[in-house]
Subunit: 136 residues, 6 copies
């Protein structure tokens, strides 16, 4: 019996959209006010979806305390109240779009979860825009 | 890296559920108060999901300004503040159920997006009822 | 101990904004696409707030079953799945703006509740626009 | 044209997490305060997703009145305002985790819906934790 | 400059509605299935609103860390994952209606906050029913 | 007949909490990670509430197009996608707490609305924290 268990989490961060090998004019042309050199920011709302078999003994897919701790160590401690461009190694050379942040979270969490579980990252940049990434 | 980017939109419309080749009594019998000949209406909440590859340069799947403009020209300009049965060509002979409206939106947007992207239409008729259509 | 108990409800309706003693051009000029003669519609989300003293015996302000029945008889049976302009006596001469619909609901419910309770009507015309009316 | 129609519903219940063949200390060790022998409880929010072909005549996948009645008879009448451990036969020997409750709801509804429809059960135990089960 | 700062919190609990000096039949007659002797439960969603003057130095009304700690010690530690009737002294003789729980939370928090602040307790028993209590 | 009409809006911004006449250590001590010198950010969700008399002719309190334009010119054009500390004159010397931002929005909008209307600013810094300011 395969099931998906989902857990909400959230973090706040500043960022700007910016490609290193483009000049400022090109960046502003492509990314508009999202490229403001003084940064802007978001409340990122995260849904971590974990898929696998229900443990017949406990009735759990996975203990949510484990998921909570994992989200804390892999996501919140790294991204919360940070400037993504300046303070997160990954985004010094990678544009911190919501797409790339979702991939980053997936790549941080998947190895720790292991092959036993599939992982789906749903990430809201605003209440009106969100992405879904399954590592495919 | 395949990802889905989702964008919320919304429109308001009047409609009634009605099959042209049934008489009023049969329509009322099947559709109940949803068949009221004076119409009723809804705030339709729309989530447009677009799936494809992240552009390694920009970190975007697609520029959301393009999506926003597409939703405006293909959906909002056609359906917003309209009477679906009387003012939208498609629904003169097709019953404007939420299922059929979702298929209509898919069929309007998919050709413009092209083969590069998969499209998922999620359409809420009320906060309690919604459909998901992927063109399958 | 004065407390306010709130109950959510909802109804769907068609309407157009229209002043009887203005011609169509003036109506369209003032109300824009909300004045579409073919009507449009909304999911109205209603919060009925009732304020008074907690009954020391039951710990209730008022039995919510009474509130539910009252909302059904005074609001849902009258407005749900209706064309407000054509089918609701009140709105044949009164413009069915969200302001006027909230006042109408207040005026229907207040006499039945009596002097023992204060009443607050919160009415969402869309998830983005809402009014609050307290009969003041 | 395959589409998924979704309907929200809800029920309230008390439960405790508990494995019959473990002693109290082991249960508390594994399930923490969720194993409180005096029980705690939740507002379960349910989304029933039904997938199939749109009826070309009515434009419906399925009449939502049928879905509403089915949710009432198979889910609400069985689980609403109940103590899951003490009053629901299934959970006398099965731990009433949100995973197992979702499987239970699936197994109750699927045979009644028949082979014509696929079924997806989304069940929120809290606004922050939810599961998705598709009978796979 | 008086302002209100609001903080969301939540707790889960089991309860039954029950008046000690009524017999079971009367309780069931008045409270229906909410009086089930085996208990049912809810996710209570709490909004703590604190009103006062903005500190001109910090720009804070009050440090939200203080509010968070206060909610933990006065509300969550006392009510979360508890059976209100059996495990909370207050509700051994007082019916744990949402009205009475809101008053209880107010009475716990107000003395700690002191005369400097006004307090408003908004408590959702379900997403559809909630109360507001201001100690008036 | 006095009524309140509410309109949702939103803007994204970067900020840090910081008192000019404190050193960095004191700022970090008081504001914690909210004082990160590299900034963090939020999606601010705004509800503008306007109270006054319903116009008996139109049934409007105020035309929402006027409100929308006012929010755009006074709030969005000034704060959206900005670094509040660096790019908004007001917050060069005033700490951009959610309390102070709400007061700022009130002070920008109230003179334009005039004495005819009361104004209530509800501002969410995150989905879990919000303030209400009425200019009292």
């Amino acid at each position: 019996m395969r099931i998906t268990v989902n857990r909400h989490a959230h973090f706040n961060a500043a960022h700007r959209l910016y490609c290193n090998d483009w000049d400022d004019a090109t960046n502003e042309n492509v990314f508009g006010k999202c490229s403001n050199p003084h940064f802007h920011g978001h409340n990122y709302e995260l849904i971590v979806g974990i898929t696998g078999e229900i443990d017949p003994k406990t009735g759990y897919l996975i203990d949510l305390k484990i998921v909570k701790d994992l989200i804390k160590s892999e996501v919140e401690d790294v991204l919360d109240h940070k400037n993504l461009n300046l303070e997160v190694e990954e985004f010094k050379n990678v544009n911190p779009t919501v797409e790339n942040i979702a991939v980053f979270i997936y790549n941080k969490m998947k190895p720790v979860l292991g092959a036993k579980y599939d992982l789906t990252i749903t990430l809201y940049e605003t209440p009106r825009n969100f992405v879904v990434y399954k590592g495919e």
